[in-house]
């Protein structure tokens, strides 16, 4: 850099130096923030061009008619709300998200504790096996479930018949189909909760449990008064985050039931795909997606709050 040459110049007598030139270093700092901005330009391009802009474009699209020739205001939204199918979609999305997340969180919590109780040596091996569902891409593993639920070849039904139970139309009957999509989602997502909780458990200092033991706490009381309070924040973050992801799910329902039977398993993502892409009504599809936005935004605000709180705790 240019400043590098200064040292080579003959040193002036201290007295001769004029009042300090204000701010070459400040100029340097400004150059640094310019550089910082340049470094973030690719990121800004991705976020701006492929997230923020499409979002506003979606709002615009959702207010056009099917042929996209006319501005219709909020008609698409009103139309959707009046349709029974869409009302079902709203209900099913909520059931799907809440049901799956509660089950995932519970299973994850139990498994994390179980793993944490194991001697360190065996832990890694068991953890590895329990992570398998989460490692396989869901679009791939759902194929296996689809096959397990096959109407005529279902290996699960084969076992049911073995114990004398009647076969189940897993994907053909609305109640069972809803159960099936939730089950697969739980199967795929529980390991994620497990590793988050396991990490949180490991970060609870042993002395706390020792102190509680000396104070006479039973196992249950330790859970209630030590573990849960220490993990509260991470539980909240994981649950909120998973609610977002599950609510906006696509892969599992699309492959397993494609919304059927009689649209009884559609959720926002799959319904938007069916309406917008398959039936070619782009504006209506955009409107379906946008219905997710208020819920997602609310959840995101809570996640952000908890994450900020957590990082502040960790810093302090």
């Amino acid at each position: 850099m240019a400043d590098g040459n200064v040292l080579a110049a003959p040193a002036p007598a201290p007295a001769a130096v004029a009042p300090a030139r204000p701010g070459a270093l400040r100029r340097l700092a400004r150059r640094r923030s310019t550089l910082a901005f340049v470094l973030t330009v690719p990121l800004l391009t991705v976020i701006g061009g492929l997230v923020v802009w499409p979002f506003f474009y979606a709002i615009y699209l959702s207010m056009l008619n099917k042929r996209m020739t006319r501005f219709v205001g909020l008609d698409n939204f009103a139309f959707l709300l009046s349709r029974e199918t869409f009302q079902l979609v709203i209900m099913q999305s909520v059931i799907f998200a809440v049901g799956a997340v509660v089950a995932k969180a519970l299973i994850g919590f139990i498994l994390a504790h179980v793993l944490h109780a194991l001697p360190a040596k065996g832990q890694r091996k068991w953890r590895g096996m329990l992570l398998v569902p989460w490692v396989i891409p869901p679009a791939i593993s759902t194929l296996a479930w689809w096959w397990l639920f096959d109407p005529s070849y279902s290996a699960i039904n084969w076992m049911l018949m073995g114990i004398g139970a009647p076969p189940v139309a897993w994907l053909g009957e609305p109640g069972w189909a809803r159960f099936a999509v939730i089950l697969v989602n739980v199967w795929y997502g529980a390991p994620f909760f497990m590793i988050m909780y396991l990490a949180a458990l490991k970060s609870v200092p042993d002395q706390l449990y020792e102190a509680a033991a000396i104070d006479g706490a039973t196992g249950w009381q330790k859970l209630r008064y030590v573990t849960v309070p220490m993990m509260k924040n991470i539980i909240a973050i994981t649950v909120l985050f998973s609610l977002i992801v599950t609510f906006a799910n696509f892969d599992i329902v699309r492959i397993l039931t494609n919304g059927g039977p009689q649209d009884r398993t559609h959720i926002f993502g799959t319904y938007a795909f069916q309406v917008g892409i398959q039936s070619g009504d782009i504006p209506l599809g955009a409107a379906v997606s946008l219905f997710m936005f208020p819920v997602l935004a609310l959840l995101a605000v809570f996640v952000l709050r908890d994450v900020t709180r957590r990082s502040r705790e960790m810093a302090g």
Binding site: M1, D3, L7, A13, P14, R21, A24, L28
Partner: protein, 366 residues
């Protein structure tokens, strides 16, 4: 050769905190100067302005006669040793020391020569292939110094380099640093909050407090002739006793009346010096080592008085006795052979040749 001069240097952080409030300091070539003061007094800020890591708000800093206000750290030809060593964790000791030279495109064999030389000075020759993780605290400290030495800079800057070491190692490394300076004779600015470290290492000590310089001087000067109440209290351990007293005029001589009606005569040769304060309230300063069991009573200006010890701390080679003069704690330093008992009055001798009088309002030592 490089002297360092600071002229009316001010540092104001964003948000208006004035960490350094206009300090002047001349550091001679090859000098070892220690900045000492309590935590938060602006020592690190001063050092970091010399290094170029913090912008100077006003005033100027010159290194080797060259104003460096606008020069980035890499072109100031300085080297710095940090409190947490800041060794690059992914590089071996050799690479850590060579990094600055590599960036400056030194030839390979010159780098090797310098690193090996520094390793010899610091006795870390067999550690060159290790990563910092595999080193003990003291070894890391040496490597951090090695990284500075190989650069052969105009100035060494140290920011509390020994604070992360345990007490024993700290003493050992202190000696090591002094030896290195005697070998390489590079101008050094050294920051610490530990006055013992400052006194043992420094050619000159700079005592800072709340962003200003209280006093600059050799360790001896600071100890025997502190300029301010702050320096008097900061230098020396245990700290100097400061007892509120009244300076009375009586029969051509001055007397100090301490709480508990202890009256001490002021040495005659100081009468003139203290005359302006006569009749007023002052702080009487005396170091614990000058408050002893009665001894040398034949010498001039040794006064005795009685007090009852409240706490007795036998330290082996000496015994510290703490007594109270109407709520003012006073520490005396006795010979361990002297019997002392809690609560029982005993005689003490004050060596008034070593006394100080502090003007309470200005904090100046007269």
């Amino acid at each position: 050769m490089a002297q360092v001069s600071l002229r009316r240097v001010v540092k104001e952080y964003e948000g208006g905190v004035q960490a350094v409030k206009g300090i002047d300091l001349e550091i001679a070539d090859e000098e070892f100067v220690v900045l000492v003061g309590p935590s938060g007094c602006g020592k690190s800020t001063t050092l970091r302005m010399i290094a170029g890591l913090e912008e100077i708000s006003s005033g100027e800093i010159a290194i080797g006669g060259m104003v460096v206000n606008d020069i980035p750290p890499r072109d100031r030809d300085i080297a710095m040793v940090f409190q947490n060593y800041a060794l690059y964790p992914h590089m071996t000791v050799y690479e850590n020391m060579a990094f600055g030279l590599t960036l400056r495109r030194f030839p390979k064999d010159e780098i090797r020569r310098r690193v090996e030389n520094a390793a010899r000075i610091l006795d870390i020759g067999e550690l060159l292939d290790r990563k910092p993780k595999a080193l003990s605290g003291g070894q890391r400290q040496r490597v951090a110094m090695g990284r500075a030495i190989v650069r052969d800079p105009k100035v060494f800057l140290f920011d509390e380099p020994l604070s992360n070491l345990d007490a024993k190692l700290r003493v050992q490394m202190r000696v090591e640093i002094k030896k290195v300076h005697q070998t390489v004779r590079t101008t050094t600015v050294y920051v610490t909050h530990d006055q013992v470290e400052a006194m043992t290492l420094a050619d000159r000590v700079v005592v800072m407090n709340q962003g200003i310089i209280e006093q600059v001087g050799t360790p001896q000067e600071l100890y025997h002739r502190p300029a301010t109440r702050f320096v008097a209290g900061f230098i020396g351990s245990p700290a100097m006793n400061m007892i509120p007293a009244r300076l009375e005029n009586g029969a051509g001589a001055l007397r100090l009346r301490l709480p508990g009606d202890i009256v001490l005569p002021v040495p005659a040769e100081r009468t003139q010096r203290y005359a302006p304060l006569a009749g007023g309230e002052v702080l009487f300063g005396i170091r614990p080592e000058h408050l002893t069991e009665p001894k040398n009573l034949d010498r001039p200006n040794i006064a005795t008085f009685e007090a009852a010890p409240e706490v007795i701390e036998p330290l082996g080679m000496e015994t510290l006795v703490i007594f109270s003069l109407q709520g003012n704690e006073v520490t005396a330093r006795l010979d361990p052979a002297v019997p002392a008992e809690r609560g029982r009055k005993m005689p003490f001798a004050a060596d008034l040749n070593q006394m100080h009088l502090i003007e309470p309002r200005t904090g100046r030592v007269l």
